[in-house]
């Protein structure tokens, strides 16, 4: 009888302790085997080595990267002597600028994309108008709103300031001393005088300048290839999971961040596009992101396709170092269909909490606005909208945002 009377309180104690253990058990299984597989696919630990760029013979040459780095920060490479690549791609801001629009010689109505990990992508810029980093680097140099210069101006700068480094990498520079053959300002640019000067140059002289210009891009790209993503708290968390989805050791993510991660790979369907260890599929999608008020709508990928096909500095062009069959991005490019109009490249989400504002014209100031857009949906003014609203609760939206903060790289130990 005595033992029986004890049974009930004993059971109660057991029940309570189970409740406590369940709530506070750090070894509780958080993820299914499938989910563990998804989480690991997002971890930097599975990032593959950087693919080669066959169109750039100096892509992995440290001397080229060193030259590229100096040019990257050199404001002499601009019309007003005040603009460098680093003006919009600031190292301390993960190679973005914190502004909606880029500010060079003028204002560029596009948001500066990060360069971190960009070397992995077959396409550069929001609409993919370049098939290599070196051909991309040339566009801002001659854009009237960005660096505002022209290609003979840049060739002269190389001859004046970087002749030794240049010739060691690329061979002799053309003799640019004759100012009638090589005017101080000439190039296929908006500035009328420089444009006319370019037209009056001989094809051979233009070709010689083009080659120097392309090599500037190749050195810049060699530097940009060294800008690779670094591990974030998220990566440590994934590394701490055993095969049964149980985190080992000290807690790395808090409950809200874990809940946000669950939304990211589940209800939020974020990994449809933000997949792989860089959190991007490098593809073009139309998610009904509104345009910047007062500016023409960006037509996205459809313009990028037309531009890259006609770019003399593309992988198939005369300044590329690649055999034509190695130009796989161009060879298998999608050139038609209703997915091109309004399509923008999926941006990486690594360091996303530190790289506001967001979207192609920086039209969203905060991550909360971005999450609200994907939760509420939108109407595409151009093209076919791929976005179906997620209908997140306020708590889910906050959790998703909390998770995005775990993708910021941590200081090296």
């Amino acid at each position: 009888m005595h033992g029986r009377k004890l049974l009930l309180p004993a059971a109660l104690v057991l029940l309570l302790s189970a409740l406590v253990a369940c709530t506070f058990n750090p070894n509780a299984s958080t993820w299914s085997a499938d989910e563990v597989q998804t989480l690991r696919s997002l971890s930097l630990a599975v990032l593959k080595p950087l693919p080669p760029d066959p169109s750039n013979a100096v892509a992995d040459d440290p001397a080229a990267a060193a030259l590229g780095e100096r040019i990257f920060f050199d404001t002499r490479f601009s019309a007003n002597g005040a603009v460098a690549c680093a003006s919009c791609h600031m190292p301390e801001r993960h190679f973005t600028d914190g502004r909606p629009f880029g500010v060079g010689v003028g204002v560029i109505p596009l948001n500066a994309m990060t360069l971190v990990g960009a070397a992995y992508s077959p396409w550069q810029t929001w609409n993919g108008k370049n098939d290599s980093q070196w051909s991309q680097a040339l566009l801002p140099l001659e854009n009237a709103l960005e660096h505002g210069g022209d290609r003979t101006f840049y060739a002269h700068l190389i001859a004046e300031h970087y002749a030794g480094e240049y010739t060691a990498l690329f061979g002799p520079l053309p003799d640019l001393a004759d100012a009638t053959r090589f005017p101080p300002h000439a190039g296929p640019v908006d500035a009328v005088a420089a444009s006319i000067a370019w037209e009056t140059m001989t094809p051979d002289d233009r070709d010689a300048v083009n080659r120097v210009f392309a090599n500037i891009g190749k050195a810049l790209a060699a530097y940009e290839r060294t800008l690779l993503p670094k591990p974030a708290r998220f990566d440590r968390y994934v590394a701490s999971l055993d095969d049964h989805g149980r985190p080992q050791g000290q807690p790395i993510l808090n409950d809200d961040e874990i809940a946000g991660l669950r939304i990211f790979i589940g209800k939020g369907r974020c990994t449809n596009c933000h997949n792989g260890p860089r959190f991007t599929n490098d593809a073009f999608h139309n998610t009904a992101v509104p345009g910047a008020p007062g500016y023409p709508l960006q037509r996205g990928r459809i313009d990028g396709v037309a531009r890259v096909q006609n770019d003399p500095f593309n992988c198939l062009g005369p300044y590329s170092d690649a055999a034509p069959e190695a130009c796989t991005a161009l060879r298998f490019m999608v050139t038609e269909g209703d997915t091109l109009l309004g399509g923008m490249k999926t941006p990486t989400l690594r360091n996303v909490a530190e790289t506001a504002p967001y979207m192609h014209t920086g039209q969203m100031a905060t991550l909360a606005e971005v999450v609200a857009h994907y939760s509420g949906g939108g109407y595409a003014l151009l093209g076919h909208n791929e976005l179906t609203p997620l209908n997140l609760t306020a708590q889910e939206a906050a959790q998703l945002e909390a998770f995005l903060h775990t993708l910021t790289e941590e200081p090296s130990p």
Partner: protein
């Protein structure tokens, strides 16, 4: 059954339920909804064409078939009675039926390897989920279509 026993039984059931709930991965309840994936999809790498004219098999250079990675397939085509099909003209198309879009590339047959084998270059998938890859095959004056289903992660 005495009231005490009943309470004890109830408590035991509660405890068991609680422990089971505690141990199961919480994510099991969080499967994305809204999938229209047909239940009876055939994911085989060898399939008959729609009208039974060809039997085709694909092998991927990269296994498992990866996301975000350009890779090549080899497509083997034989007639229904097992003879290799030579000199076929083949068009490739990849589609995500649940998303209304296709691949980020335009894959092409770039080489006939002999013995009914064809090299398919430019394969790239940008999204996990159900993919339907169709090969329109024209050979010996006959035309048919074979579709492979893939479930990518």
């Amino acid at each position: 059954m005495s009231p005490a026993k009943l309470v004890l039984l109830l408590l035991t059931v509660l405890l068991t339920a609680l422990l089971a709930g505690c141990m199961a991965p919480a994510g099991m309840a969080a499967t994305p909804t809204g999938s229209t994936l047909p239940a009876d999809l055939d994911f085989s790498a060898t399939r008959l064409s729609d009208n039974g004219l060809f039997r085709a098999t694909y092998t991927s250079d990269a296994t498992p078939v990866p996301l975000n990675e350009l890779h090549a397939w080899t497509l083997h085509i034989e007639s229904a009675d097992g003879a290799p099909v030579e000199n076929a003209v083949i068009h490739v198309n990849g589609d995500m039926p649940e998303h209304g879009h296709g691949m980020p590339t335009t894959p092409q047959v770039t080489q006939e390897l002999g013995n009914g084998d064809y090299r398919v270059e430019g394969m790239r998938f940008q999204m996990g989920g159900w993919w339907a890859i169709t090969f329109d095959i024209e050979a010996g004056g006959q035309r048919d279509r074979v579709t492979f289903n893939l479930q990518l992660k």
